[in-house]
């Protein structure tokens, strides 16, 4: 009898052992790409926790949130990774996410972290990136952007789907306040197109369709370190650069909450931090084992970040204003 029970237990455990738990992470396309952080993170995390990490790429991080909302109760996602400080309140309002359990005292961020649901995994500054070979007089302020050469065109992201797009909206708002609508109206002839996600916009820029793209101050570091190209630069804006802190959160509907929380803690390890700079081209949130490479040290002198509560309260209004302003 005892023997039979043991055999049964052994059989059951072997079945479970053969089938590793799957942790599903929905994220934006660049994060999950073969050249992005995902493959390296998976390699380490799968080994550490004997599981199978699956990244599902969506065109943009807000798009990933919409996918979860569209799928409703049947969503496969355990973690949503890639929203930022400007978009996480909107996600929290859906009530689909649960608090993390992690010690955040090692976080090294320009601000003090307070949120209980979303946890940061990297950060950076938004900036317009240009090719110094073709653009000789880059703008130094938002005002310069309006007075660019007639044929110069920029590509930006849609604030409704992409966090860089939303970041730019808040950036302009924090500088122009109630004149923001007027500013967008003036800028709209310079906009070649508005893409749904960052990758699309950056591809357009690299293909030469657009002269400037809304990206990050750390984007040139990619071209220098990975491609040895020194002609891609970011335009230093004297008004300061808007900051982005990218975050991840656990879904309430997750069937692997413990494992999901393990992943959240993993994001705060130096193993994770070491991967981020040269794959996602952003700053890590905890100390890396080796100092950051030189191209990352060209930081803007002044940074801007709007208050979380204001964003939640006024985001819809700002977007509406933007939609009205870019109408031609």
């Amino acid at each position: 009898m005892v023997k039979a029970i043991f055999t049964a237990l052994f059989l059951i455990s072997s079945v479970f052992a053969a089938k590793k738990p799957v942790l599903n992470i929905y994220t934006y396309d660049a994060f999950a790409a073969s050249w992005g952080p995902a493959p390296k993170i998976k390699k380490i995390f799968d080994k550490l926790y004997n599981c199978n990490l699956v990244f599902t790429p969506v065109q943009s991080s807000i798009g990933a949130l919409r996918k979860i909302q569209l799928e409703g109760k049947n969503t496969k996602a355990d973690i949503l990774l890639g929203l930022d400080t400007s978009s996480m309140q909107m996600a929290e309002k859906t009530g689909l996410f649960m608090p993390y359990n992690a010690d955040i005292k090692n976080l090294q961020l320009p601000i003090k972290w307070k949120d209980k649901i979303f946890l940061p995994f990297d950060w950076g500054y938004f900036a317009f990136v240009y090719n110094s070979k073709t653009m000789k007089n880059p703008p130094h302020s938002f005002d310069d952007l309006l007075h660019l050469d007639k044929n110069t065109q920029i590509v930006i992201e849609d604030p409704r789907s992409s966090t860089p797009g939303l970041g730019l909206l808040l950036w302009v708002k924090s500088i122009y306040k109630n004149r923001a609508k007027e500013y967008w109206h003036k800028l709209s002839p310079k906009i070649l197109t508005i893409t749904k996600g960052w990758s699309e916009a950056y591809d357009l820029f690299l293909k030469g369709e657009a002269d400037m793209v809304l990206s990050y101050t750390t984007s040139p570091a990619y071209h220098i370190i990975a491609e040895k190209k020194y002609n891609y630069k970011y335009a230093h804006f004297k008004e300061g650069h808007y900051m982005q802190i990218e975050v991840a959160g656990i879904l309430k509907s997750s069937k692997h909450k413990k494992l999901a929380n393990d992943f959240m803690n993993f994001m705060l390890s130096s193993k994770f931090a070491d991967i981020i700079p040269t794959t996602n081209w952003m700053y890590p949130v905890v100390k890396t084992s080796k100092p950051l490479l030189q191209p990352f040290l060209d930081r803007p002198k002044k940074s801007i970040l709007l208050n979380d509560k204001d964003i939640l309260k006024y985001k819809k209004e700002y977007i509406q204003e933007w939609l009205d302003a870019i109408k031609k």
């Binding site: 969506v58 919409r66 569209l70 409703g72 049947n74 197109t193 749904k196 591809d203 870019i326």
Partner: protein
């Protein structure tokens, strides 16, 4: 008695169709807070409406203008090589997948397109990126609708009696006077109905605006519904916009049905105008046809040349490609056979009702007949994006898996999309068969199934082939509902193509586009040849 109840299945089916649509609309508008629909109309919505109307008006005006111009020139060219081929090419515009043509248009007329490259090479200057925004939307709309209009007007020109041309010759009218006094009165009856139809098509335009719009500044209501749901997850806004869309479409439909003078003008004897135009006039006609033919063919040529350069061995080894391919074929097959059944049952019932009303006019019969006609064109009132939102809310409220809902929605929407065409093809023939054979059948007294297999099937061969062709081509090329539901798991060829275009994988995109084009045109022209059904 069978003969007595012949129309019952059709009536039930059309009733079910209407009930289902009403249920979706009810779900859409009243499951939510109904107050929402009537309040909070921001300047955003009024701007949206303004642009949609503006864009649709210019598109329809230009389409009609160029449609008349092309058909006018075509009908005056007595001897023209490949004339029939050109005409059937224009009529194929109806089934060409819009996403494929848009890709072709970008390749030829885009910022780095053929035209700009040539200009840059010759004059050292290019036009820049004029194809995104209003210009591109208008161009694509005119591309599709002018060819469609040209096809209809060509028949209208051909139906002008020879005597009138004789008269114009005797009166010594020049070509403009002749157009004004002789030809215009003949094509006038078609103008209002066609104008409204094209207006409705442009008003409901989705794929073209989605791809060529380039920014929310150029949104139609359809695209705005899609964005409200997929970008903002703002269900109240999506519902509000859907409501607007349905109301406006319904009003347009009422106008269309009043103004619609039967488009199926089939002219058997292709009359030749006896008097040759002067050399100068012929030169103008030839140039007009040549210019438009070039513009029409260039995007197709671009798809062909770029497509042939694509890396097919790579494309065909991708699992995702086959996933999209299989899904497309499965959906097209299911929706086509569903369409065949639905259009047969509806046409059969209508024919039965019409014939019976000849002997005794019952109000109920007239009501049933109207109901069947309405249910066959329900798609025009509820465009696919609205249908998609309805299906989506259905899946949310009854927690039905999204994947399943998506497949059902796709099959159903594609069936409805082709139903008006199928119904208009099937009905006249079934009516003829019925009025010719019904009495004989009664005398012989054969059962329904032998009646179906021995009498209807052989006589409906052409119509069935045509219906399948239209439905397959529509379904294969459709990019509307799939845009709402599409992601990595739920994918079709047009959606896969859209994804590749979005990430600027141009090489893969042109490969997929060529596959789609070959599939659609292949099916369309093979069936045209097989059935040689009058093309429209």
């Amino acid at each position: 008695m069978l003969s007595k109840n012949n129309y019952i299945p059709g009536v039930i089916l059309s009733f079910l169709l209407l009930i289902f649509i009403s249920f979706l609309l009810y779900e859409l508008f009243f499951f939510q807070n109904p107050k929402n629909i009537f309040t909070g109309y921001s300047s955003y919505i009024s701007n949206l409406l303004k642009f949609t109307f503006y864009q649709a008006s210019i598109s329809s005006f230009l389409s009609l203008f160029f449609g008349i111009l092309i058909s006018w020139s075509l009908s005056h060219l007595r001897y023209m090589p490949f004339k029939n081929m050109i005409i059937s090419l224009f009529s194929s515009a109806l089934v060409l997948p819009s996403i494929v043509i848009v890709l072709g248009i970008i390749t030829v007329f885009g910022k780095h397109g053929w035209l700009n490259e040539i200009f840059y090479f010759v004059f050292g200057k290019s036009f820049g990126g004029y194809i995104y925004g209003l210009g591109g939307i208008l161009f694509a709309h005119v591309y599709f609708n002018a060819s469609y209009a040209a096809r209809v007007f060509f028949d209208a020109f051909k139906s002008i009696p020879e005597q009138r041309y004789k008269l114009s010759k005797n009166l010594g009218l020049n070509i403009f006077q002749r157009f004004y006094y002789i030809e215009l009165p003949n094509i006038k009856p078609y103008i209002s109905g066609l104008a409204l139809t094209i207006f409705l098509l442009c008003f409901n335009s989705f794929a073209i605006v989605l791809i060529l719009g380039g920014s929310p500044a150029y949104n139609t209501i359809e695209v705005a519904i899609y964005e409200a749901l997929k970008l903002d997850f703002d269900i109240p806004l999506a519902v509000k916009l859907s409501f607007l869309q349905v109301v406006i479409s319904s009003i347009l439909i009422i106008f269309i049905s009043r103004n619609y003078t039967a488009t199926n003008i089939s002219i058997k004897n292709d009359k030749k105008i006896k008097w040759l135009e002067t050399k100068k006039e012929l030169f103008y006609h030839k140039s007009i046809v040549f210019i438009f033919l070039t513009i029409f063919i260039l995007p197709l040529l671009a798809i062909l040349t770029d497509g042939l350069n694509a890396n097919f061995s790579k494309l065909f080894s991708e699992r995702e490609f086959w996933k999209a391919f299989d899904m497309s074929v499965i959906i097209a097959t299911f929706s086509s056979f569903l369409l065949l059944i639905v259009s047969f049952v509806l046409s059969f019932a209508k024919a039965d009702l019409v014939i019976k009303s000849r002997y005794a006019d019952f109000y109920l019969r007239i009501f049933f007949e109207k109901m069947i006609t309405l249910s066959s064109s329900v798609y025009l009132i509820v465009p696919s994006i609205v249908l998609g939102v309805g299906f989506f809310l259905f899946s949310q409220n009854f927690s039905c898996p999204l994947h399943f809902t998506a497949v059902v929605a796709l099959i159903f929407a594609n069936m409805l999309l082709a139903l008006p065409f199928a119904f208009n093809t099937m009905y006249p023939q079934i009516f003829q068969i019925k009025s010719r054979y019904d009495k004989n059948i009664k005398t012989i007294g054969i059962c329904f199934f032998s009646k179906f297999f021995y009498i209807y099937l052989p006589n409906l061969k052409r119509q069935i082939i045509y219906t399948l062709a239209i439905s397959f081509s529509f379904s294969l090329g459709d990019l509307s509902i799939i845009a709402l539901f599409g992601d990595k798991d739920i994918t079709t060829l047009p959606w896969y193509l859209y994804q590749k275009m979005g990430s600027y994988r141009t090489n893969d995109a042109s490969g997929i586009a060529l596959v789609l084009l070959v599939l659609v045109l292949g099916i369309f022209f093979t069936t045209l040849k097989a059935g040689s059904v009058k093309n429209r």
